[in-house]
């Protein structure tokens, strides 16, 4: 009983605080101005620390003057760049461009790239090796699609960068993860760095990367690796920690050295989980395709950008869908490999090479034959252009049809949302005096995570105020906050539906997979055409992207409620409705909160993309910095976004943990 009272008191206190905030938001600034206390209403510009200038100056020094005695900083990064570039050029030549003699346009092709037939037979063999003929047919069809729809060459360039970025991300992540596992201190240091790597928008550090690694695909690869590696590090550390202690003891007893322990015992035992990390790295690398193409990666991402620049919506959609197809093929393959690594596969014995390696032999034979015949029949070497299909006109006409016939309806919906939801929320957030916001953020931290979280929150919110980003940060909070609310209202019920109804679940899964891998750029321009430039358009784009985790986590949460508890509910006579509201939903709450957390992260990561529509938030600040090649400005705005994300993340994780403790799913001392 006592416990219950405590909660309701907490709710009461927060209710009062919210009311006070609302009052302050409406009248606070007026009061402060009347009282002559302007500094309370608005952060005084005289107090702004010119961090932007410092960072830019430091960057200039690093690139132009920094010297380690034997070599300069730039020479070091350029050497690194060269090392990464060599394998990339090799793979790109093999898949897309062929081996050239000489450089530049004068180059003569010595050796053609692998023929499309050879590549398709290669992935079919991989699919069969990893699982079965069904998978083989799926990936084969996916790659055939790329050829038939005329996306082959671009897709192979994109594939080449994935083929290079993923191993770097996986090996680097594995290595850092193992270090973090061995040295708890190192883990403490890397944790915040990983948080920043995942939350600072890529645009913010693109300029410094260009300075360091030069123009071209290598910079794009480096940016991709920075973005895609963190999950690998986290999963590695977690997977190694959860290896059965008995296995570890066994290793100790047999006298393993540290190296043997890691590579012979821990890593093989954790292989299943590690492959989940690999899968994450692959998916995140594919997410980067568009942004990487802005700095010279080429491939499908560039096709999307260039098509939309011409307002060729159909062309943009086709290239975007090619990215989705490529992502699905690689994702299914890597998942199959993950599963394969955890089950025992009998090794094949035989006397001939063919008997031992049937698939590799067939693929090599096809490659050679395709090369030989390709010399005489061009269609074998390169998929014939005349036989390609296109759906471009369909998308163009579809958008035009919607625009001409349903514009008024769209407009009505938009006006409704703007006047009843977005604008009031915006006024609310922009009206709160900054001092009060700081207090509230601190109080939130203290309530859910004790003094540590409170201090962290003050420091981060303080950084945003000190660097003069306050107003843009509030617009960011308003835009993301509204979008997260809408995404949750749509996503959580969808997730629950997917969990309780199998057929709906399958349809929803396809929608969610597509939304996750389709580059948001593809639907941004049609959304602008239907809703015009403005906050509503930005919100639609953010919701489309950020709804994914809301659906996924709530579905997972509802599905993973222990069957015994449900059984107990049925025995005690619950109706299906009661089962859902009394048992499934409360127990799924921690998962739903985690989904909310991820929704916020994705919403914030979309900001830079919505800046391309025309918003006035931190995303715009980052984008302006990119176009002006201003390192300091971009990083300061990027850090501000990251800090908003981290504050939200910590508060939600802490409250999710409280919820788990309340439902007895976790003990207080964990």
């Amino acid at each position: 009983m006592e416990h219950k009272q405590l909660i309701s008191r907490g709710v009461l206190v927060w209710g009062v605080l919210l009311f006070v905030t609302w009052i302050l938001s409406r009248y606070g600034i007026g009061w402060a101005e009347n009282a002559g206390l302007n500094w309370i209403a608005e952060y005084p510009s005289a107090w702004v620390v010119p961090l932007t200038t410092y960072i830019s100056a430091a960057m200039n020094w690093l690139v132009e003057d920094a010297n380690f005695g034997l070599f300069t900083f730039t020479e070091m990064t350029r050497a690194l760049s060269w090392v990464i570039e060599q394998p990339y050029l090799l793979v790109r030549a093999l898949l897309a461009e062929g081996f050239m003699q000489g450089s530049g346009r004068r180059a003569v092709q010595l050796f053609p790239p692998l023929s499309w037939i050879a590549v398709i037979s290669g992935v079919v063999a991989l699919g069969h090796y990893a699982r079965d003929w069904v998978l083989a047919a799926l990936v084969g069809a996916a790659f055939l699609y790329l050829a038939v729809f005329g996306q082959w060459e671009s897709a192979m360039i994109t594939l080449a960068s994935v083929v290079i970025a993923v191993p770097i991300g996986v090996i680097g992540g594995l290595w850092l993860g193992i270090l973090a596992y061995r040295h708890p201190l190192f883990e403490q240091v890397t944790k915040p760095v990983l948080d920043l790597m995942q939350t600072i928008p890529i645009f913010a550090y693109l300029v410094p990367i260009l300075f360091m690694f030069g123009f071209g695909p290598v910079s794009a690869l480096v940016a991709t690796v920075i973005y895609a590696m963190p999950p690998m590090v986290r999963i590695t550390t977690m997977a190694l920690k959860s290896v059965d202690p008995e296995i570890v003891d066994f290793g100790v007893m047999t006298g393993c050295t540290q190296r043997q322990m890691t590579w012979r015992i821990l890593v093989p035992a954790a292989l299943g989980s590690l492959m989940v990390g690999v899968n994450q790295v692959i998916m995140l690398s594919l997410n980067m395709v568009i942004i990487a193409s802005m700095i010279g990666a080429g491939g499908l991402g560039f096709d999307v950008l260039a098509s939309l620049r011409r307002l060729d919506i159909g062309g943009g959609f086709e290239a975007g869908i090619a990215i989705v197809i490529l992502a699905i093929a690689i994702d299914r393959l890597s998942q199959a490999f993950a599963e394969r690594s955890t089950r025992m596969v009998p090794s094949v014995q035989g006397n001939t090479v063919f008997a031992r390696h049937p698939r590799s032999t067939i693929v090599v034979v096809i490659m050679v034959l395709a090369f030989l015949f390709g010399q005489f029949i061009p269609a074998i070497q390169t998929y014939p252009e005349g036989a390609t299909a296109t759906t471009g006109a369909f998308w163009d006409d579809g958008v035009k049809y919607l625009n001409v016939n349903f514009y008024d309806q769209f407009e009505a919906v938009k006006i409704f949302f703007l006047s009843n939801f977005l604008l009031p929320v915006k006024r609310f957030f922009l009206g709160i005096p900054w001092v009060w916001t700081m207090l509230m953020v601190t109080a939130l931290g203290w309530t859910f995570g004790g003094w540590k979280l409170a201090v962290l929150n003050v420091a981060m919110a303080g950084f945003i105020a000190m660097t003069g980003m306050w107003e843009k940060a509030m617009i960011t909070v308003y835009l993301c906050g509204s979008s997260v609310v809408i995404a949750s209202v749509i996503g959580i019920p969808m997730g629950i539906l997917a969990a309780v109804n199998d057929r709906a679940g399958r349809v929803i899964a396809v929608v969610i997979d597509t939304l996750q891998t389709l580059p948001s750029f593809v639907y941004l321009i049609p959304v602008v055409m239907l809703f015009r430039i403005g906050d509503f358009t930005a919100m639609v784009a953010i919701v489309l992207y950020a709804v994914v985790p809301a659906v996924r986590y709530s579905a997972h949460g509802v599905r993973s409620v222990s069957p015994e508890l449900i059984e107990a509910g049925i025995v005690s006579g619950c109706t299906p409705r009661q089962l859902l509201t009394r048992i499934r939903l409360p127990l799924a709450l921690p998962e739903v909160l985690l989904g909310l957390n991820q929704t916020i992260m994705l919403a914030l990561s979309m900001l830079v993309i919505t800046a391309l529509v025309g918003t006035r938030d931190l995303g715009q600040e980052v984008y302006i910095a990119l176009t002006k090649a201003d390192t300091g400005r971009g990083l300061v705005a990027g850090f501000s976004i990251a800090f908003i994300a981290i504050i939200a993340d910590r508060v939600i994780l802490a409250s999710a943990r409280k919820a788990r403790i309340r439902y007895g799913l976790e003990s207080v001392h964990d």
């Binding site: 003699q101 300029v207 560039f302 430039i533």
Partner: protein
Amino acid sequence: MRHLMNTLMGATAGALISTAALAEVESTDPIKLTLHDWSGQLINTQIMGSILEEAGYNVEYVQADYIAQFAGLKTGDLSLAMEIWATTGQEALDEAVATGKVVNAGETGLQAIEEWWYPLYMKERCPGLPDWTALAACAGEFSTAETAPKGRYVGGPVTWGGFDDERVKALDLDFEVVHAGTDAALFAELESAYQREAPVILWVYVPHWAPAKYQGEFVEFPPYSAECYADPSVGINPDLAYDCGKPRGPIWKAAWAGMEDKWPGAYSAVQAYNLTNEEMSAMVGEADLDGKSIDDVVNAWMDANEDRWKGWIGQ
């Protein structure tokens, strides 16, 4: 793998041989030209590239962002950028030239025009156009639900500058300025409105494919002068600056400062190179509206203008 290595070794050896064979140019290192994502620039750059190839130089195209490319031009990672618009890139170009690592290689001959632009069907609804005073009178015709009774003007990305917010105030136009985030978003608005014949007025620049695809006109503001921007007392409004139209300006070529030493012949060809707005608009239309490939458009120009470009490379 061994076979592959042999191929690569062969390629390297081959490159050395070809170096000897092509000794007539100063260096066979590839001259790196930057490509952006609009057709006019691609055409411009590839014509320049083809001319340099005809002169015996080795040319490589690199995809790069419009402003971010200056980082590469300063270090010599990139050699040449063919379109720096005085209207949007002047600040970045001046900054780069001031470092001494980038040089302005002269005009391309193309003149950038940027101004408020409306589709022809709006002229019926606001008969006084293209004179700007008509805008003040019929702002309501350009209004939308969010801005009514004010008109709605879609400006370019804030990074383009343009002083439209100031212009609206100085000329007392009853318009609200909405900034698009990118070029693509800007023209998406036009496409959407044009399909429905809905009111729209926005920032259009030429050379661009839009004026070829959509029928319309630029608004005629009081002509630009430097004083009008700098001095409030000049112009129609005695109290505010920016009471005139936007400046028009050349499109520059920008090169890495080391280019002139490394490839003097190529650099002088770059300096000599020029096109006209009419030529460029026609080519952009062929590429973006008639669906011709950039290569075809470039080759057609090369065939038709052989005497011109041979003069630039001194043949």
